[in-house]
């Protein structure tokens, strides 16, 4: 493959964990604090923000755990053997 410096030196999984952490937090708070009866009626009684918020926090947690479980290792050799990264 090409040279020693690889694109992808920052971990996309961390970015995803951050994005869904922020989104999940905001939606969960909105689901608890600002859900009106009208919001509930239009969704047939489901608190969409709360469910999606909790779901996104869960997704953020999974990405974070994935990073912990298989940390990104920066390859040191130019070719061939590379340390296990991610699936």
């Amino acid at each position: 493959m090409s040279g020693n410096k690889r694109a992808g030196l920052f971990d996309l999984r961390g970015v995803l964990a951050l994005l869904f952490g922020v989104y999940g937090f905001v939606l969960t708070v909105m689901g608890i604090a600002t859900t009106s009866q009208e919001d509930l009626d239009r969704a047939g009684g489901i608190n969409v923000n709360l469910w999606m918020g909790v779901g996104m926090l869960g997704a953020a947690l999974l990405f974070a755990l994935w990073v912990r479980w298989r940390p990104l290792t920066v390859p040191t050799e130019e070719t061939g053997e590379r340390a296990p990264e991610d699936a």
Binding site: M1, R6, A7, V15, V26, V48, N49, M52, E81
Partner: protein
């Protein structure tokens, strides 16, 4: 392009929705800036230095395609035709993606070409290369403009921004991250966009199903609303409403051969905007797994994109009226927007808007990032300025990215005054793929195929598809529904193969020695095999196992939704 009618589609976006939108785009630009650090050569810029892990390239592979056409088009098809729309995924995508991963990727990745046109250059020489390089570059930059225009129309309708402002802002964002971070930035954003789109589609599906009373409720409501067509809508075969071919056998044939074989294999295996994502993978194993990993989410996205469409047709009053044949000021293309309007509260609404805008921008970024690669490597480096140092081509690539975005802005403004022309162009460019697949498949497996046959086959095949399309548009042929494009693509494929065989038999083939690695019978088997030790080890990373798994799931879903 009539994406949106003048209905009241204005969404009640609150400040918090704009905040969520802003968070996303700050991260998009951040990714661009971070990715810039890893760009030190033209290969880094155009192919991410062939360094990306398979799950990233796999998700980007399907995400690059998850743009305006798919999100609006497939929910619209779901609303209008119902379950037969599933064929676009289970027949029209999965088999081709499996074929790319198992059969074609070893040639693409193994021959170390940097683009699909470059493969044609090595296999067939300059004639076919120029035909494909020019047509691809032109198509991509114009389609980038179409995507940009579609985005501006949506922003205008949803949020009330003027068209020109959204065009310029969106182009500036795409330009910023693609010219900074190159393909890596585009790919990373595609992966992020993928998850946001899923986060948008999931609540629409589940809340929608809840409101109509579950799957059985949906079936009952469709049956009650459209008693005469319900049966066709609620079973995927033979899909006569989708193809517009009344005869059931011919309809199935149209779906299997036209959509499932020619159109889909042409698109997924030869469209460089797709294949580029697999080429950027870090090893042969990862490259082969790219389309296979992408195939899994692709299989299920069918459900969360088409079912909301079907729900919208019974839940949204304007759409239900349209389907009853009454006059209505909405179109099927509005299905997803209407459902978002009717179901989602502020907060989730902001994320849905983010998902839609992200999808449009990612679509444009995919066009721009494949355009700059083909332009730089296949046109500029091959024919205009050869043998310059690598950093020269990196600079050209960045400059061409700017030019591409500016041309796309121009195209977007042209599109805003000539809607139908752009709509037509998009269909037209779709026709480049079918003959390209014919030429590839013949060229990969028949060493006798000659350079002249490669070029002439492409031109004749495309010409055939265009001719059939024009005949149909002018009512010489009578094909309703989507059947016309299936027939046009099939004819293009047959003509390309036939002409290529005849021309090949009359002209001189390239010597065998020049075709090693490009033609199946002349390539040593171990050159097509990949390393399966280290991080490529494990039974679950074997392409054959991944392929078998996704085909089995697709088969089961096909039976469940028969």
């Amino acid at each position: 392009m009539h994406l949106l009618a003048d209905a009241d589609l204005r969404l009640d976006a609150a400040p918090i929705d704009y905040v969520l939108l802003a968070v996303y785009f700050v991260m998009v630009l951040g990714i661009g800036a971070l990715a810039r650090r890893s760009v030190s050569s033209s290969l880094d810029f155009f192919l991410s230095g062939r360094s990306l892990p398979a799950w990233v390239t796999g998700l980007a592979f399907i995400s690059a395609n998850l743009g305006a056409v798919e999100i609006f088009g497939m929910t619209a098809n779901g609303a209008q035709y119902g379950l037969p729309t599933m064929h676009y995924y289970w027949i029209g995508a999965i088999p081709a993606m499996v074929f790319l991963g198992l059969v074609m990727m070893p040639f693409y990745y193994g021959s170390k070409v940097r683009s699909v046109p470059e493969f044609l250059l090595r296999r067939f020489g300059k004639f076919a290369h120029l035909v494909n390089g020019l047509s691809f570059a032109t198509a991509q930059v114009l389609i980038a403009g179409v995507n940009l225009f579609a985005l501006a129309t949506v922003v205008n309708l949803l949020l009330g921004w003027p068209l020109w402002l959204s065009v310029v802002v969106a182009a500036a964002i795409v330009l910023a991250y693609t010219s900074l971070g190159g393909l890596s930035a585009a790919v990373y954003n595609e992966v992020m966009q993928f998850f946001v789109i899923v986060a948008m589609l999931l609540p629409l599906t589940f809340v929608g199903l809840h409101k109509v009373g579950g799957w059985q409720g949906l079936v009952d409501k469709i049956t009650a609303a459209n008693p005469s067509t319900a049966a066709v809508q609620l079973s995927s075969w033979p899909g006569t409403n989708l193809t517009g071919i009344a005869d059931a056998t011919l309809s199935v044939l149209g779906i299997v051969f036209g959509l499932g074989f020619v159109l889909s294999f042409g698109y997924w295996t030869t469209n460089f905007a797709e294949v580029q994502r697999a080429m950027s993978a870090k090893s042969m194993s990862a490259a082969r797994r790219t389309p296979l990993i992408g195939a899994y989410p692709k299989t299920f996205i069918a459900l969360i994109i088409i079912i909301p469409g079907m729900i919208a047709a019974v839940l949204v009053p304007e759409l239900a009226a349209l389907k009853q044949g009454q006059s209505s000021d909405v179109t099927y293309n509005n299905a997803i927007l209407l459902l978002i309007r009717d179901l989602l509260p502020n907060g989730m609404l902001g994320i849905a808007i983010t998902g839609l805008l992200a999808a449009f921008m990612a679509g444009m970024a995919a066009n721009v990032s494949s355009f700059n690669t083909v332009f730089t490597y296949d046109l500029w480096q091959a024919y205009v300025r050869k043998d310059k140092p690598d950093d020269y081509y990196l600079r050209v690539g960045r400059l061409v990215t700017v030019v591409g975005c500016v041309v796309a802005i121009g195209t977007a403004f042209i599109a805003s005054s000539f809607n139908n022309i752009m709509d037509y162009l998009q269909t037209l460019f779709g026709f480049f793929n079918a003959p390209l697949f014919a030429t590839f498949i013949l060229g990969m497996f028949w060493k006798r195929m000659t350079p002249l046959a490669g070029g002439l086959g492409l031109i004749a095949g495309t010409g055939t598809a265009v001719t059939i399309d024009v005949l149909n548009r002018n009512d010489v042929l009578h094909l309703a529904g989507q059947g016309a494009s299936f027939v046009a693509a099939s004819a293009a494929f047959v003509v390309d193969i036939a002409l290529s065989v005849v021309v090949s038999l009359l002209t001189r083939p390239k010597p065998d020695s020049e075709l090693v690695g490009l033609v199946w019978s002349l390539t040593p088997r171990d050159q097509l095999r990949h390393d399966d030790t280290g991080e490529n080890a494990g039974w679950y990373r074997k392409p054959v196992v991944l392929a078998g798994g996704v085909l089995a799931i697709t088969l089961v879903l096909n039976i469940v939704f028969w």
